[in-house]
Subunit: 201 residues, 2 copies
DNA sequence: GCACGTTGATACATTTGGTGACAAAACGGC
DNA sequence: GCCGTTTTGTCACCAAATGTATCAACGTGC
């Protein structure tokens, strides 16, 4: 699958959970970190909690076996209806340069250049987090969504990982660190990139 | 439902199939003709063919009763993840500046600038409350409506939460705190933004 | 193995907003 | 007007949420 994905692009993946070796949930996690390709999970495990976990891991739908093949078709159609004509989000940033606020990100170089001429390198984690925000300007992202999209992991109850990453990123992008205005905190909800984003060709 | 839809905009509809009068499938059809609001169908009819029909009519997902409430939440999230847009729930204010009374709100910066040159930052809670008022100028909003819109929660009988939030917001926007003119109290009813609102750009 | 940078975990400081108490204001009946 | 009642304003306190410094674990390149 990895080889095929590297080769071509696909509209949707139907993913079984019970597989020898790496299981479907783990694959789902990896796919989510890598991009936003639609996933329909399919499994004999009809358990509620399994479905919930699958969906929370970023799957678009979860169909328990045994299933009616026509239902599979209908569900695939339902997902594609939603995902196909989706132009609103900024596509993939890989290889692009992106302007936002007073900054310009060079994705390939992982370098942030400021209006005032200074430039800062980003670590891979910071770049990942920042691109997730840049692809979804003005969307409020919960901590668990961010954890899923950055690292493909679920958050424990006392997990401050995302706060830490945001804090580190802010240090590099906020002009006034005491009053963050690019990545804003939405109390009880998460974080939100509150500026326009322009992708340079 | 039709009246509510004409009045406000919604992110998603959870639709039961078995209803007295017009049934859910018919409603779904109508909604699809009217627009693309996400629909999650919910029903006691667990039959394959019903699910397939629902999905083919344009529903985004179809969950048979009895269902696990957490699964409903996960499925709603999965749909909303796809339909993205969801910019904070704050429709047309995101990224705008708004003039009202002697003030100008910069939504992105979460800063209130006054005619006299002073500027005050707002907390995320204050910003949310203020935007709710700014989106509904001169509408009287009951405390329970405000609680629902700000925090998505119901109010207890002795709950002074909203009064407190309004009080805190007033401190930042009222020129004469002893005589609030911008957010007026309507006794036994609620609060009301009593000035014109102009969205810039 | 060692120096280095990155990242997650932990601990602590700070901010925010809900709660309950009480004061002030509004209202109604007289 | 006067009083009692209800409603509202706001203060002080506290619990929860968030920001971030620091440390440990880990990997990487030499």
């Amino acid at each position: 699958m990895d080889a095929a994905l590297a080769e071509d692009s696909y509209d949707l993946i139907v993913l079984d959970v019970m597989m020898p070796g790496e299981d479907g949930l783990s694959v789902c996690r990896r796919l989510r970190v890598a991009g936003s390709i639609p996933i329909l999970m399919l499994t004999a495990l009809g358990d509620d909690d399994d479905r919930i976990r699958g969906l929370d891991l970023g799957a678009d739908d979860y169909l328990p076996k045994p299933f009616n093949p026509r239902e599979l078709v209908s569900r695939v159609r339902a997902i594609l209806r939603r995902t196909s004509h989706r132009e609103n989000g900024i596509g993939h940033l890989a290889g692009r340069r992106v302007k936002f606020s007073h900054l310009e990100l060079d994705y390939d170089q992982a370098v942030l250049a400021s209006n005032d001429g200074t430039a800062v390198p980003l670590t891979s984690g910071e770049l990942k987090l920042l691109s997730i925000f840049l692809e979804r300007p003005r969307a409020t992202l919960r901590r668990d969504e961010l954890a899923l999209l950055t690292a493909g992991r679920e958050l424990g109850p006392l997990d401050r990982t995302i706060d830490n990453q945001v804090s580190r990123l802010r240090r590099k992008i906020e002009p006034d660190i005491l009053r963050p205005r690019i990545i804003r905190t939405i109390r009880n909800e998460g974080y939100c990139l509150s500026c326009d984003v322009e992708v340079i060709e």
